[in-house]
Symmetry: C2
Subunit: 656 residues, 2 copies
């Protein structure tokens, strides 16, 4: 008996080394955070996008030649205006949904299930892309500091995602104070770099980089309005992550909504300032978009010279990009679990693993992000066209939902309360018209940006997202229909049916006569139902040997031979079982298969494991029940000894 629990314990310990011992259900807890910590926790996604947004604008403008780079400043200002509108708009959402107002919840509450599924598809797609873009941009920063790693970009990115997946499978207290540190390190070093940069610019000391890296693309295009719009839509990636606070309102200290709204305002001001400043200084130092050195690295080099100042800035930027990717590891599984609970995603996504985290969601997110990183070679600029459509689509849905909500609020008399479609409380608000217009402008602007994005990036990859999101919505709706159908088909309804017995016929599938076969026969005898043995004849010599062995060793029960000219086991067996069923449709057919259970996994692979195949091929036949009788090869000596005893005991019983 001492060897018995070995297999599961050893497999469990490997998991435990990676993700830690299991946690009790009761260990789930909640924590409230201050505005300062909240800023750090929820701003990393938004702030980190300044690491690539300017570069992506320049990359498009570069097509029209370096002379077009000066357009980056008006483009950045236009994006800042958009940020302002979004901030005002989202402050209203935060006040309306104090228990969390992500795009999925707001859409479900005001626009109905289908819109909610569109939001879910858009958000889930973008969480995957946030991981891919942030990590590949993080690798860009690392490679800028250590060019020798250039050849290992993809490997580096994949390893980083894998490490994050393991950390998140262990479970992270997402609102822990430790998460605040990287954000503030980034803010500190970026602020210092920008301030020193501006002072040196004002005193005329900030020079154009002498050894700027070569331009990424050499193709030349005319400077059209379309090109400017392409550059603008690339820059809009700076706004990804702005919605994070509206998801995380419940984590804030009371008064939650007010604290969250204030934090959003701070975050937007910081984000806008950093983005405009980087774009401004990048233009003045003549930074060029390049595959070997990021704009942030060029900026650091212009301000601090080659050395620790530049490396420090790159390290801080990499750190906040990793934090941004990490927020997706919290958000994706949470949203997937929410949609799974609503029955639109596979139910497994709603189960908490041994560490209380949504293990399936984390693993799926990591797998998809790694897939994208490998396919698009961890190239930030190739990932960008896939990104941001989903973000702006969810912005639009969320703001449109708010517009409908204000319309309903407008129908209430002063002091009166009502309910939304999904049951949240509506209170009368005299300013509902103004608020509706604010959200309306937000929804309209984000819709326009989304369309600009989809059109201008269509050929670069946006087409894929334009197809993917409706396809995902269709999948989600199919899953929902499936679960509804299964539930209705499993329901016993009002028909009262008493449990009752039927006849059982036991069939033993026999390939050879050995110790495992003996166990098969013993089990059949123990069940006490009528039984017969069946052999599928593939090799005539083997069949002949089997008949002799059966007579010599078993010596009871019928051995039926099924011919199989095409060497298939499943085919003739299936036909035979179907013929039995036709004879008596009420019969339970109990098929017993021998299975050699090996102590180690690789040893199991060395055997044919027919039982898995047969289980699959026969599972659609009503009232056919397949049972594998394992014979533990490693327990053979104990087993034979016991068999021997029992056989004696059996004989004694027979004699009595």
């Amino acid at each position: 008996m001492s060897r018995l629990p070995r297999l599961p314990r050893s497999s469990r310990s490997l998991t435990e080394i990676l993700i830690g011992p299991p946690l009790e259900t009761a260990a789930a807890a909640h924590q409230s955070i201050s505005k300062k910590v909240g800023l750090a926790v929820f701003a990393s996604d938004a702030l980190s996008s300044t690491a690539y947004a300017t570069q992506e604008i320049l990359l498009i403008l570069a097509l029209a030649g370096a002379g077009a780079f000066s357009l980056s400043i008006p483009i950045a200002l236009a994006i800042a205006v958009l940020l302002l509108v979004l901030t005002v708009s989202y402050r209203q959402t935060i006040h309306a949904y104090p228990s969390g107002g992500g795009a999925y919840i707001v859409s479900r509450d005001n626009l109905g299930e289908t819109a909610a599924q569109v939001a879910a598809a858009a958000l889930l797609t973008d969480y995957i892309l946030t991981v891919a873009v942030s990590i590949s941009s993080g690798v860009d920063q690392i490679v800028s500091a250590v060019p020798a790693l250039l050849a290992w970009r993809i490997e580096l990115a994949v390893v980083m995602v894998l490490i994050m997946a393991v950390i998140n499978l262990r479970g992270v207290k997402e609102s822990g104070r430790i998460f605040a540190v990287p954000t503030y390190i980034f803010l500190g070093s970026m602020a210092l770099t920008l301030i020193v940069g501006f002072v040196r610019w004002a005193t005329g000391e900030l020079n154009v980089l002498v050894d700027a890296p070569p331009l990424m693309e050499t193709a030349v295009a005319p400077l059209t309005a379309f090109l400017v719009l392409r550059a603008f839509s690339s820059g809009c990636t700076a706004l990804t992550g702005v919605e994070a606070i509206s998801n995380g309102i419940p984590a804030f200290e009371e008064p939650r909504s007010r604290n969250a709204a204030t934090t959003l305002t701070w975050m937007s001001i910081i984000l806008g300032s950093i983005f405009i400043s980087i774009t401004f200084l990048a233009h003045h130092i003549g930074a060029t978009p390049s595959e070997t050195e990021t704009v942030i690295s060029q900026l650091g080099r212009a301000v601090w010279g080659r050395g620790w100042g530049q490396v420090g800035l790159l390290a801080a930027t990499t750190l906040i990009l990793i934090m941004a990717a990490n927020t997706s590891f919290a958000d994706f599984p949470r949203l997937a679990a929410l949609a799974a609970t609503d029955g639109f995603l596979p139910r497994q996504l709603a189960y908490r693993g041994s560490r209380l985290v949504f293990s399936w969601g984390i693993s799926f997110l990591a797998g998809m992000a790694i897939f994208l990183l490998i396919i698009l070679r961890a190239n930030t600029s190739r990932l960008i066209p896939l990104y941001a459509i989903g973000v702006f689509l969810s912005f639009t849905l969320s703001q449109s939902g708010m517009v409908l909500r204000w319309l309903k609020v407008g129908q209430l008399k002063p002091g009166e309360t009502g309910h939304s479609a999904h049951g949240t409380t509506l209170s009368a608000d005299s300013q509902w018209r103004t608020k509706m217009i604010v959200n309306g402008i937000g929804g309209l602007l984000t819709a326009v940006v989304m369309i600009v994005f989809a059109v201008t990036k269509f050929r670069d990859g946006a087409w894929f997202v334009v197809i993917l999101i409706p396809a995902l919505v269709m999948v989600f709706l199919s899953i929902h229909r499936h679960y509804q159908r299964v539930a209705s088909q499993l329901s016993l309804g009002d028909v009262v049916i008493a449990p009752h017995a039927s006849n059982v016929k036991t069939i033993l599938l026999v390939d050879d006569v050995h110790a495992g076969t003996l166990r098969l026969v013993n089990f059949a005898l123990s069940m006490g139902q009528p039984w017969e043995a069946v052999h599928v004849a593939i090799d005539p010599e083997k069949t002949e040997r089997l008949k002799q062995k059966w007579a010599a060793r078993i010596g009871q029960g019928e051995l039926r031979i099924l011919p199989s000219p095409y060497r298939s086991i499943a085919g003739p067996l299936r036909d035979y079982l179907l013929s039995l069923r036709e004879e008596d449709p009420r019969l339970f057919i109990h098929l017993l298969l021998g299975q050699l259970a090996m102590p180690r996994f690789w040893e199991q692979l060395l055997h044919r494991n027919t039982n898995l195949l047969l289980d699959l091929v026969l599972r659609d036949i009503d009232r056919v029940i397949v049972t594998s009788i394992p014979y533990q090869i490693s327990l053979r000596d104990q087993y034979l000894a016991r068999l021997h005893q029992e056989s004696k005991a059996g004989e004694m019983t027979d004699n009595n």
Copy 2:
């Protein structure tokens, strides 16, 4: 009943579209071929290596500058001498093993099992590399003709391997005459090119290429003896495939051995002439090794100019490279099946699929070749260092085996016969000393080349093969030990044990009460053994609901609740079953699980499928038998109607 066979039929038809309808076992046939066809069938592997061997020599010499290119001619001559020795040597093997004398068989027959496994590891590795190298060189030729495909190298190579895998899964009559066509097309167009080339050279019309492609590598190394040896070992890839005829002797018309030996001589003469001619002309036209244009393409261009002549030569070369890869698709599965029958490889490799081919071997070969092509980016020069070590190792083993064989033959008196270790017949031979010396020289030279290859290519990738082959041998021997151990443990020996019955306790694992649960209870009742229901409590509310439903709907049998603080189903269940076993070690525990059987695969994935997990976690416990009771969700209406009837029938029986 009409819907019943749907699942397997639809899945079978997809396979049938790809690989065709199943073939009867009796359809296996044999075909004899003439020398001309035999040359075409077995020479493609050897002849095709002229497509890259010269280029690989030049590639190494290029490191010492273009001035070193003239060394390619003496190197090619040295390789031709090696070819001569090998041919004489292998003619002797062909006469000694008329029923096929591959390295595996010769080693097993004369050097013992371990040497045979070394040969198997070397050959299997090289079959995979033959596919990878031939296909990537084939893609090189295609890209030389159509430079626009340069960016699609890897995709092209992968698709070609996949197509070959499907064709071979369908089954190919390997000795069919149709296989002769590509070889003769290649021989014709190559001979024409070389003859025209020589004529133009003799008349002084063959000019140095004006627009030769740029050199692949720019690094410069001194021209050392080591570099020359590296170039020599690269060129030795020309000799891969020479052994093919010795494997295929049984396919020849009688007198088999003589016909095969004559074919080998023809093949070697052709191979040597083509290889030396290509190398000579390539030097005279100033061909350079390049990533964008093969040496064959440059030769075609120099002789025919840009146009159909060059394209025709490239097409013929691509064709024979594909044929060479195809020989591996015949040889790899056949050798793997042979080793599997001997118990050194997983047994599945010896099963013939529905089309009578060794499907597992074909699929594994294709998978590994694709893996290599992706990892090494379908780059012929990066694959070459992995190649040829195995070929020369198998040459050495085969020749050493022959030396030992002659030693044994030498001990026989004139006219006497004897037997080798593995049972082949030895006949006295007065010339045994000469023959032993010939094979000895062959074995020694190939051993030296193998060592030169391993040392000079060590850092470029040969290290991997040097580790891989011993590792594979260890794996093969472990597999053999495993099968031997299992066979001895399954053996019933002389102990006579009569089949006999034991007590059975049935446990129903219950999660909810629905139509599937009712079936579970009905089956337990039908078995007529003592039973109880068990529920693992993860969610307290759900457990409470279950208790009520159980009482209302089932109303019989005990419902035991097992607490599970860590949300695991398997853990508490396992502990409970172990405790039952301790109470009565002779008890069979029959665990019944409900399983929702969905009509479509994707629908199955939407459910938790706990049964697969439990089967895995519980299979190591002696005398615990797990049965999944499928409930076919799509048959629900028929099922409920029948249940209702039966329930009435059951009540009637109860009343009687």
